[in-house]
Amino acid sequence: MKYFTKLDGEERVFEFERRAGKLLARSGDRTYELNLSLVGDGSAFSLLVDGRSYDVAADVQREHVTLQIVGERFVVHCENERERAAQAVAGAKVVGKRELRASMPGIVVDVKVKCGDLFEEGQTLVVLEAMKMQNPLPAEASGKVARVLCKAGEAVAAGAVLLELE
């Protein structure tokens, strides 16, 4: 089975094969000998790569793999062949719509714009508060407010759409 991984814009493809009691992973012209073992409740595994040992904690939400390894945290996008094929078909349908989303869960303390307002790149549109910190959410590019979907005092989840933009 092939897996297509993506991290910070970089892509690598891995192909796994069990042969003669060994597990091999190929990527480009490199071949790794692996030894994998699930640990405890399955949210972690022990990974030996050519005898080097890594303790990996993994949270797999289909193609979103959140890892803790060597003291770092990574969110890797990882699809198998089947998913990639399905994605290619579906891809055409996705239409980009500009939105301002909550970068974190929190409470809306101030909505700096109203429907129809024009704004500049970098201008603060909404101020969110979480854990006693106030965080201004700036516009990524200049534009116009199409719809306001939040109001001051409201609790919002991470990723919630706060404004629709044009």
Partner: protein
């Protein structure tokens, strides 16, 4: 015979647990108070008694003096420990305790009041002969703002008069952003302290944040337990602290210690307090005094072999200070915050997996447990990892080792940044300042990113194999143990996550 019968801990999180631990070791019963969100918190489960205060908002629970005092009286607590944050620097609670004949384990109301007001604190420090950073010793309004900032010279710092813990602070390098920064700082100050007064001071070049731990008893004795270096900060919140400070000479340390003790005496201080200084180019300036136990107090405890909470309790009961022993080795604390390591934004969620480090020289102070829900109601600090080593290099190596052992799954944490800070040349050299974090590489190296991609593919491959195995055989033959199909396998099988 215990010094108190029962101490109410008017706080939550790791500091509430910290106080409960010491009280237990002293044979004193404890009363935990809790909000709706904290029903299952460790401080509730580990205390001898627990009292529900109210809603999850601080104002409905941990900040409600009436409820806290009522709980103390109903449960017959003869002392209240306020921890840090919340009501710890609230003179009204201190006064109410005095009136109710309950021992407040902190300084007298007057000392809290004078040190709590940053403008007033600077005046007193000035009178006590403690050096000050140039700035305005009074609150400032929006009208005079631009003019005053110009007079002091940019960059300037906007600070909440009633502040502490980095809340309500903004640095402004030119007039352009001044007004918005003032408004944000003022709003944060209002929300955090119920007081929107802001003052202004010069932003010192390459400053280090060095603080002195003081302790005073009711018999007029004041001592200090060396310094803590707290320059590793982002958004003016400390991330890594250490002791000793690598640039402090023995002479300067003694001067700072004396200045801190002089200030404490001047305000009739009692209990544990911290005098914060800016250090810059061999000179030090008074910043503020925190009239409570500091988050980073374990750094001092590990070097001096002292339990500062025990000292607070002893002093509150009227006992005398013990002599300060010789410090040993080097100590480092890393705060574990629930936040994105690149953006420093808070990260909320449920802790689904937790592995804490062990072995020699490692201490973990946290109220973390598997299943904990990290909510937006409170501070993002989940806990602290503190290490002690023979010398600075040993302590750094030990801290790195321990941080690698620490596993917190469910929220993003500041650990990767702390780790990269400890590994940086700048930190290792000891020659750093409060802006060090801006220069720390926020992203993992190329080889680590490649390893992560391999590991992610391996995780999915393993999951697919497990799912296949499940499909092939509901009950594998010859196995004594019921198979456990963990999150990895389950996720592949069901096609969705199982957080």
């Amino acid at each position: 015979m215990a010094l108190f019968r029962r101490i109410l801990v008017a706080n939550r999180g790791e500091i509430a647990l910290r106080v409960i631990r010491t009280a237990q070791e002293m044979g004193i019963e404890t009363v935990a108070v809790y909000s709706d969100a904290d029903r299952n918190a460790l401080h509730v489960r580990k205390a001898s008694h627990a009292v529900h205060l109210g809603g999850s908002k601080p104002s409905e629970s941990y900040l409600d003096i009436g409820k806290v005092l009522d709980a103390a009286q109903r449960l017959g607590a003869d002392a209240i420990h306020p921890g840090y944050g919340f009501l710890s620097e609230n003179e009204d609670l201190a006064q109410a305790c005095l009136d109710a004949r309950i021992e407040f384990l902190g300084p007298p109301p007057a000392a809290i009041l004078s040190m709590g007001d940053k403008v007033e604190a600077r005046k007193i420090a000035y009178q006590a002969g403690v050096p000050l950073v140039p700035g305005l010793q009074e609150e400032i309004g929006e009208a005079r703002l631009a003019e005053a900032a110009k007079a002091i010279g940019y960059p300037v710092m906007l600070k909440a008069a009633a502040g502490g813990g980095g809340k309500g602070i903004r640095i402004v390098s030119e007039e352009k952003g001044l007004r918005e920064a003032f408004q944000l700082a003022s709003a944060e100050a209002k929300s955090a302290f119920g007081d929107d007064r802001i003052y202004l001071e010069k932003f010192v070049t390459r400053p280090r944040h060095v603080e002195i731990q003081v302790m005073a008893d009711k018999h007029g004795n004041v001592v200090y337990y060396g310094e803590r270096e707290c320059s590793v900060q982002r958004r003016h919140q400390k991330l890594v602290e250490e002791s000793p400070c690598s640039v402090l000479t023995q002479e300067l340390r003694a001067q700072m210690g004396k200045a801190a003790c002089d200030l404490a005496r001047k305000v009739g201080y009692v209990g544990a307090g911290t005098v914060e200084f800016l250090w810059s180019e061999g000179r030090f300036y008074f910043l503020e005094m925190n009239t409570r136990l500091q988050v980073e107090h374990p750094v001092t405890e590990m070097r001096f072999g002292v339990d500062l909470v025990k000292e607070q309790i002893r002093i509150g009961a009227g006992e005398k200070l013990l002599p300060v022993s010789e410090p040993r080795g080097h100590s480092i604390e890393v705060r574990i915050n629930a936040e994105d390591p690149e953006t420093f934004f808070p990260s909320l969620g449920r802790i689904t997996r937790l592995n804490v480090p062990g072995g020699p020289g490692v201490r973990m102070d946290s109220a973390l447990y598997r299943g904990l829900e990290v909510t937006p109601y409170y501070d993002s600090m989940l806990g602290k990892l503190i290490v002690h080593g023979e010398d600075r290099a040993h302590a750094i190596a030990r801290c790195e080792r321990a941080l690698r052992e620490l596993r917190i799954i469910g929220v993003a944490t500041s650990v990767p940044v702390a780790l990269r800070t400890l590994q940086s040349e700048e930190f290792r050299s000891g020659d750093y300042d409060t802006s060090i974090l801006e220069r720390i590489q926020k992203k993992p190296t190329q080889s680590r990113r490649e390893l992560a991609m391999l590991a992610a593919a391996a995780a999915r491959f393993l999951g697919a194999e497990q799912a296949g195995a499940v499909a092939a055989a509901a009950h594998p033959a010859g196995s004594l143990v019921t198979p456990r199909w963990g999150l990895i396998g389950r996720s592949e099988r069901l096609g969705k996550g199982g957080r």
